[in-house]
Symmetry: C2
Subunit: 389 residues, 2 copies
């Protein structure tokens, strides 16, 4: 009887031996790429609150969040898609959905998670709750039905997604309002080898950077009848191609006010582009080949990290003065940066220093450091409330 009661007690306690209640608006994850795990972090306490492992190959991993901020979807390089519960601090669900994948996105209403795959080339659409496969959309092109790698996937209003076909030189828009009956709109001959892309924070413009030729392909999603046009002929590898040590990334964070700040491929420059005319209006010389060029949420600063051999440094651009105001050394092999939702701080991963460095963006002073094993991507839950993240 005592044992029975004790057993019942243990069972009851186990049932409620859960994590304490807490809000999810200040949570995030840091990819620890060498250990197949993520650190769950709290941006208010500036602390690591948990570690969740068993996530497969996390080189080039990316993360999106459920609209309540409780669940993180981790897209691994090996095609693994894992749904993590940040409150119970465990993997809830995991599928290996492709052989080689480079990320994903979540629909405006939070009900669909989409993976963009290299192999087999295409996108796959999953129920965000169960990870049930709802649609498999191969990126077939040409007369022989070859399949292209997919890059530059972004969510759009109306449960639509836009992405680029690297091998085909095409941009596709998938309307997933009825996820089992996707409606595709294809834009062909947009340029050679789109390698990454961004959608502006309002979901209107899609910019695909071209690796195989100079320039960027621009699609006005509010006026798709105008088709894709070419901008920034001087953007790409240009007249004097330089060796490229690491491909830059493009995302909506490049936009600050009426300006886009874009990493020039191979050059030691950040391009300044007017988002009304889409003309280049300036270039800012920087320390090395830019990889991430990210605007602080208020747009007053742009932070830049670099490819090898300048990858231990980060530079800060003042967008009003259009000049570099600070050069920081967060540690060897800076791979990623993430601003807190309203931008008072930025978290920077230094892979080979095995730490995350936290800076105050007003004083530009280091205000915290967290140990992490080969950290790469850093992702905060506020992304759930944003278009194109």
């Amino acid at each position: 009887m005592t044992r029975g009661l004790g057993g019942a007690l243990l069972l009851l306690l186990a049932g409620c031996a859960q994590q304490p209640l807490r809000g999810t608006g200040d949570l995030g994850v840091v990819i620890e790429r060498a250990d197949a795990r993520v650190a769950v972090v709290d941006t208010s306490a500036r602390a690591i609150v948990a570690s969740i492992g068993g996530l497969g190959d996390l080189s080039h991993a990316s993360v999106v969040f459920s609209r309540d901020g409780r669940h993180a979807y981790v897209f691994g390089r090996d095609g693994g898609l894992s749904r993590l519960d940040l409150l119970r601090q465990q993997v809830v669900n995991r599928v290996v959905q492709a052989g080689n994948s480079i990320g994903g996105a979540i629909s405006q209403d939070g009900r669909l998670v989409v993976a963009q795959n290299y192999e087999p080339g295409g996108i796959k659409v999953f129920d965000a709750e169960t990870l049930e496969l709802l649609a498999d959309i191969p990126a077939e092109y040409g007369s022989e039905g070859k399949r292209s790698k997919v890059v530059g996937l972004a969510d759009l209003p109306g449960n639509r997604f836009v992405y680029s076909l690297f091998d085909a030189g095409e941009i596709w828009v998938a309307d997933l309002s009825s996820p089992r009956q996707p409606k595709l709109t294809k834009f062909r001959d947009i340029g050679k080898q789109p390698y990454d892309a961004l959608v502006t924070p309002n979901g209107r413009y899609y910019l695909a950077g071209l690796f195989g030729e100079d320039g960027i392909a621009l699609l006005d999603l509010w006026r798709p009848e105008l088709g894709v046009r070419r901008i920034l002929a001087g953007y790409g590898r240009g007249e004097q191609p330089l060796p490229v040590y690491k491909m830059p990334h493009l995302r909506g964070w490049s936009i600050a006010g009426n300006r886009a700040y874009l990493p020039a491929i191979g050059r030691h420059e950040v391009l300044v582009v007017d988002t009304t005319s889409w003309q280049e209006v300036g270039r800012i010389p920087v320390k090395g080949q830019p990889v991430f060029v990210m605007a602080r949420p208020d747009g007053r600063q742009v932070w830049v990290n670099f490819a090898f051999p300048d990858y231990d440094q980060v530079q800060v651009i003042d967008t009003l003065e259009e000049r570099i105001i600070q050069t920081l050394a967060p540690g060897k092999a800076v791979l990623h940066m993430e601003f807190t939702p309203r931008g008072e701080a930025v978290w920077i991963s230094a892979r080979d220093a095995n730490r995350v460095a936290i800076y105050d963006t007003a004083s530009l002073q280091l205000i915290g450091e967290l140990p992490a094993s080969s950290p790469s991507g850093i992702f905060f839950t506020a992304r759930a409330a944003r278009i194109g993240f």
Copy 2:
């Protein structure tokens, strides 16, 4: 012994008989003004999950959220400031901090909550965790030390706040980096009777609408040395003043891309303003006197509600076509609207219909209705991640 064990069991269970774990990114509150309470809502389930009462006079109430999304700060008309726990669904802390108050704001880092007061005129700064008073900044002006009503309070990057003095015709910026030693910057003679204000979503421009004369006072917070200038001489009551049934509200939600959509005071018009030149570039005729003019988060639509007698209707403007595409009738006495974080839906309070109506913003169809007692303001936790909300 059995009773002892039972007691211990009950105690343990009480300790864990808490609400289940849940994310806070899809929570919000609806003010039920007649009953001194708020409904806690879930925007994923489109449901009311709890009711929290005892909040005093909630006419003209407003709400901000802690950076984790767990706590709501409710500013009541009677000067009550209540801190609610949305997970435990109860009032955690409450102070009556003024005789007559019209709202508040939360600092960029989430550590300070500031109330703007009519009586006694000024702002008060509280510790967001404890509601301890950290600073009391009277809005004194002129040689006799009179106190002005404070309006148009907004948070700025750098733990600063900007607000207007209705009676004094001044704009003040309070730097609360050291909250017990506020640093004030005062801009005088900005115009007569600023009645409300907004800061653009990037925290750069502060616009105070003037009731006592025509136009808007504009302050570029990135270049405060330029001082306050006057824009939109035709904005206000103008040559032919009309009776004003309800003062319109100004907030950052009026900005869509490079355009601001502002309610003309007394007129049946929405003004379209270029945010680069700050010149009026158009007027859109609408059904009645606009009160809230709110851009969908992607800026493609602007939704407008009206003062009496047109307050049972809402109109939707397409910002690309610059025309009204729909007129809806959500119910009598529409008082407020709130978009879901990425804008797929909008929640509308119809006070005299005692309900909240939920519309899909793509189809413009009614997709849900919730009962509420005289609902007014609707506030979702994603505001915590935004500047100027």
